[in-house]
Subunit: 330 residues, 2 copies
């Protein structure tokens, strides 16, 4: 295993230390491993809390800031944050308008966020939760009952964050977040495995000529393992299952995401192929995002996420956001 | 070779197509392979042109936009753009205040930018050039006489771009760009080689237990090949040669850059180690940047760049910028 780390047991703590140093506008609670926007809680604003296992950077801490999350809870690599972390985050972002939990559909995350929400409710904090489960690849998986939550998480966090920033109520922000999840679909693939630092060897074996289609962001098995194909065929293998799963007839926000080990030149190339397919299908891309945002450690590969977007969603997508990994608006 | 590409011969054209689709605010000349800000030329503003071989994305096209570059010329992968491309870019960004060429110190880039500058001068366009040569690792290298230009290129483009945006003259913008280069030093390392698409196999061989210290951004040999070490020792191996080469006693802008195949969690971890070393040396980090900005295709590894920064440089660093890869200000 070749990684820029110290002791594998210290990866998350060490990375949070670097993140705190790089982003003085954030506040990092190193004991609880929660990254807060510096001015949390914001009085009168719905607080947005997300989090999950580490190893998906910049998700989630890179999306903390005005216009997006109020706090992100970092678990160990590919391991859910514990209820105490989530409870602390919930308390500290509650500005009196309630708190929304944005939870990717992995069993540990779901259970721990639920438990934290119950504890918070017992303390008098109003909490709602939205479950993100946009991955069309498989039904049930290594850590999931139902579909996995992947790229749409960023879209939910961005759009719900914008609505909260505009002073919308918890009910409305939660309903919007659920709508974004319902209108979004994703599909991913891998050219290589990731390697979890504490494990020290690749999560799965993939030969020099194979790729895995429908991969999960923890290296969970996908749909099938096939010989590596040209980018335009890879794009078809990702876009086709998305379009088969949901009616995408109008205008979309399109997101081509890198898995962590794939360079940007390949992501732009993939985006070109995805847009060509959408054009052919009569789908208009209103907004796009290309980059490594929902990653799987050092895995090489990419995913495609499409979101059916009306003017309201597009306007919220364009709302200013100031986070380490996503910035917009002036 | 496993990459998200079609024909290796089409990588640059295909990626530019994706970039054009993703960034309607830019204008891409696919024949000349030049990426322009959409409103170029900006009347009365010094035009900034950079470019070089592709494979270093987001450098340079990702830095085109208000507050930074007016145009970026994309060569083939790891191959200089030709004089005709650079001449076209120079013509098309000249808003009457002259044009600055920002050139990384690789022999092909230097010759082709020089030739383009001569042609432009013959057409009556005033051109100045700044050579970026911040890499302390080696004197002379595979494609370079003198030192290589690496991470400081981004700092030069950002700060000169801010000065041009504020309406400073070509002489002042050029002098500032040279000053940034003179005050900046970089050092990089690799855990893996990169693979050039048209070649199809790794540029160099590095065993599962080795790293290359002082690597160039095309996989050019560095100082030495040694067993992989913990991140805190890697940070020492990068920071120490920088501090030995130049007096960094005061305030710096610190930049930890990923080589393309290294995930963000490791870059933040490395940044934490770099800051700890700078603290120990009595150096204050005024501003920082952590991410994969000056890459080497799929190479895993990182580089550190430090810039001696006074209040003027920091203010220019903070000046608004709106490019695909770097955004600031509101």
């Amino acid at each position: 295993m070749k990684k820029l780390i110290n002791d594998p047991a210290d990866v998350v703590a060490d990375a949070l230390r670097g993140m705190a140093a790089a982003h003085p506008e954030l506040r990092v609670d190193h004991a609880d491993r929660v990254v807060y926007r510096g001015d949390a809680p914001v009085a009168g604003k719905v607080g947005l809390v997300s989090g999950g296992g580490s190893g998906h950077e910049p998700l989630h801490a890179g999306f903390v800031g005005p216009g997006m999350l109020d706090a992100a809870c970092a678990g160990e690599v590919f391991t859910s944050p514990v209820p105490d972390q989530i409870l602390a985050a919930t308390r500290n972002v509650d500005g009196g308008a309630g708190v929304l939990h944005i939870v990717k559909n992995y069993t540990g995350d779901v259970l721990n966020f639920e438990m934290a929400a119950e504890f918070a409710a017992a303390e008098g904090i109003t909490v709602q939760s939205v479950l993100v489960n946009d991955d069309v690849a498989v039904q049930d998986s290594t850590y999931t009952a139902g579909r996995r939550g992947v790229g749409a998480t960023l879209l939910v966090e961005k759009i719900a964050g914008a609505a909260a920033d505009r002073g919308q109520s918890l009910d409305r922000v939660a309903a919007l977040a659920r709508r974004v999840n319902a209108e979004a679909r994703s599909m991913g693939m891998a050219l290589t495995s990731c390697t979890v630092p504490a494990v020290g060897h690749p999560t799965f074996e993939l030969s020099e000529t194979e790729m895995e289609v429908g991969i999960g962001i923890h290296g969970e098995p996908g749909r099938r393992r096939i010989p590596v194909r040209p980018a335009r065929e890879v794009a078809e293998l990702l876009v086709e299952p998305i379009l088969s799963d949901r009616d995408f007839t109008g205008v979309v926000i399109a997101f081509v995401n890198g898995m962590g080990g794939t360079p940007l030149i390949e992501l732009y190339l993939m985006y070109g192929e995805v847009v060509a397919l959408l054009d052919k299908a009569g789908i208009t891309v209103a907004r796009s995002l290309v980059g490594s945002y929902v990653t799987s450690l050092d895995m090489a590969g990419c995913s495609v996420t499409l979101l059916n977007a009306d003017d309201d969603l597009i306007e919220l997508w364009d709302h200013p956001v100031h986070t380490p990994a996503l910035r917009k608006g002036c």
